[in-house]
């Protein structure tokens, strides 16, 4: 856990003294791994951040003076690369999963499960060590505002541009980016990179001029941005090389781009997959499985024939891959049957989210499928990307 010979610092921000005290007592057992600093509200945390090198911030959302949103907004401007874990008493499993799937910061439900809390601290600090730093993304921040039903005005700055988003009890009611207003402005702003966020705890607009839900705005905003980028590329005839998707290049935009591309261009994706296949067909099955197993928090990768018999696997000790293959075969077949029944076309990925992490199934050729077993810290966007990248070449390597 050492970083350049210095102990890492974890700053915990919460106004409940007794809660802070119990956390400190529990974390005493990890004194050799990291230092624990505390602050009783966002304002104090800002002071600590200005004077001390902090490697991870764990913060409550509801606090006096400056709450968690204020702290996040400050960090978006001054410390955008420090990872954050938020704590909330109002977090549903669905919201947790959604924030996680966005590659956003982790959110823990109060009351805190201490062991889960410690696991997340280690996961975030390890991610920093490996260069997987994820700062505060605007989509994640907005989802949090929606989840907490917060009333506020957000002033967003990004590379010389500025604009305002208005929330009334968690509902995005209006937006203004200086050029456009309402939904059009919101669709533009949600894609701004490196946002600097300022938050004011009143909503300066009273009339609802945006009717679409936030999720739609986020999805549509990124789709429109991608369209613009493609058009620009076509105009300048720049044929960009397909970029290797590495752990530190995955962000919300990339994730949404993948989803949209998958939904909108099935045949196009197939062509791309085939192209990748031809280029990389020298890779062996084991090498490809290894590549997938290297994704952070992935516990097992199993290549399974559709009849449920295991073809190959890489798994941590204790996972019965033979049995997983047999069980997953029914799940995979059932997912395909459901797709057929609903007229949904071919299956791309099936995911089952468990309390302790997801299991993802994806077809490989006509006669096999992959099972990815991950723990709860897994970056689902990353796994999806890697599956899309590797399933085609795996079919060739395994001659399926």
């Amino acid at each position: 856990m050492e970083n350049n010979g210095k102990m890492k610092n974890v700053l915990i921000v919460d106004d409940e003294k007794s809660f802070l005290l119990s956390l400190l007592q529990g974390l005493d057992a990890y004194a050799a791994d990291f230092n624990t600093l505390t602050a009783q509200n966002g304002r104090v945390a800002v002071d600590v951040l200005s004077s001390t090198k902090v490697d991870l911030v764990v913060s409550d959302l509801k606090m006096p003076e400056m709450d968690g949103f204020g702290l996040l907004a400050h960090m978006s401007k001054k410390h955008p690369n420090i990872p954050v874990i938020m704590m909330s008493a109002y977090c549903t499993p669905e919201i947790k999963a959604r924030l996680k799937s966005l590659g956003a910061f982790t959110i823990l439900e109060k009351p805190i499960d201490f062991q889960e809390f410690v696991d997340h601290i280690f996961a975030e600090l390890n991610a920093v060590s490996k260069g997987y730093i994820q700062g505060i993304t605007l989509p994640a921040f907005l989802q949090l505002v929606e989840m907490e039903k917060k009333t506020c005005t957000l002033r967003i700055g990004s590379h010389g541009r500025k604009g305002f988003l208005y929330f009334q009890e968690g509902v995005l009611i209006d937006a203004d980016n200086g050029i456009d207003e309402h939904e059009k402005a919101a669709l533009d702003m949600v894609c701004w990179d490196d946002p600097e966020i300022e938050i004011e705890s009143i909503c300066r607009r009273k009339t609802r001029n945006i009717q679409s839900p936030l999720t739609y705005i986020l999805m549509e905003g990124y789709r429109l941005r991608d369209e613009k980028m493609k058009a620009a590329e076509a105009q300048t005839s720049i044929h960009a090389q397909a970029k290797e998707v590495g752990p530190d290049s995955v962000d919300f935009g990339t994730f949404l781009k993948e989803i949209n591309a998958e939904e909108a261009a099935g045949s196009d994706n197939k062509e791309k997959t085939e192209a990748v296949t031809k280029e990389d067909k020298m890779a062996t099955t084991k090498e490809i499985l290894n590549e997938l197993a290297k994704i952070q928090s992935v516990d097992a990768v199993c290549l399974v024939a559709r009849d449920g018999f295991l073809l190959d696997s890489i798994a941590r000790t204790g996972i019965d891959t033979e049995m997983i293959g047999a069980i997953a075969s029914s799940g995979f077949g059932a997912s395909e049957s459901m797709g057929r029944q609903l007229g949904k076309g071919n299956m791309a990925i099936s995911m089952i989210e468990f309390e302790k992490g997801p299991v993802m199934l994806s077809p490989v050729g006509d006669d096999a499928f992959l099972v990815i077993i991950a723990d709860k810290d897994a970056n689902l966007g990353m796994i999806r990307l890697k599956l899309k990248k590797h399933c085609g070449e795996l079919a060739v390597a395994a001659a399926i």
Binding site: A305, R306, D307, F309, A326, S329, S330, G333, S337
Partner: protein, 207 residues
């Protein structure tokens, strides 16, 4: 005098319909895997047995103490370690079912095609590859091969290879891959299937 009704064996009827439901819910490949796995699990439960000589093995078929005979009935040794089985062990089930429903459930043809496709598991048990003529072959053939793994002759392991099979309609299926590998002439298998429903070979492995 009242007309005599039909009494069905509900286990037979349920089994056939269950296969159809499995195909519908999870697809033919998954259903095939489940049935083969079931056959393997059944074989795991029998005790290992050694016959001092091949003649002792044949005698155990005659007196129905051979584990394979216990699941499929008496096979006939046609010479050169090639066997014919006169009756399909699933014959009573099929007869029972078709007494009432006239024809077997839909989807069985797809399932049979799936069983005949090359796969690791059918390679391991040397079954399928064209020798499947109904979904029941995917239970019967692997189960026989799996049972064979529990049998030794003179302390040597044996392997059973499926060569061909005949459907109730009379249509014959041949496992070209296994015919080539075993060296048994197809004409011989064809002739055996004239009077039998199933044909396989046995090989005593070198120690």
């Amino acid at each position: 005098m009242a007309e005599e009704g039909k009494i069905l064996d509900i286990a037979h009827v349920s089994f056939l319909d269950m296969i159809k439901i499995m195909i519908t819910l999870s697809g033919a490949a998954s259903a095939k895997g489940t049935l083969i796995r079931n056959a393997i699990k059944t074989a795991e439960r029998i005790s290992e047995v050694d016959y001092p000589t091949f003649e002792d093995y044949l005698a155990a078929i005659e007196n129905a103490t051979n584990p394979i005979t216990m699941i499929e009935g008496r096979a006939t040794h046609a010479g050169n370690f090639v066997f014919g089985l006169q009756y399909c062990p699933f014959g009573p089930s099929i007869k029972n079912y078709t007494q009432v429903f006239e024809k077997l459930p839909d989807g069985f043809a797809d399932f049979t095609a799936e069983f005949n496709k090359p796969s690791n598991i059918t390679d391991q048990f040397r079954v399928g590859e064209g020798a499947g003529v109904s979904p029941f072959c995917s239970v019967h053939q692997p189960m026989r091969s799996a049972f064979a793994e529990k049998i030794t002759i003179g302390g040597k392991k044996i392997k059973i290879t499926q060569l061909g099979c005949k459907a109730g309609s009379g249509k014959k299926g041949f496992a070209e891959k296994w015919l080539a590998e075993s060296g048994v002439p197809k004409e011989l298998v064809d002739k055996i299937l004239d009077n039998h429903m199933c044909c396989y070979s046995l090989k005593i492995m070198d120690a």
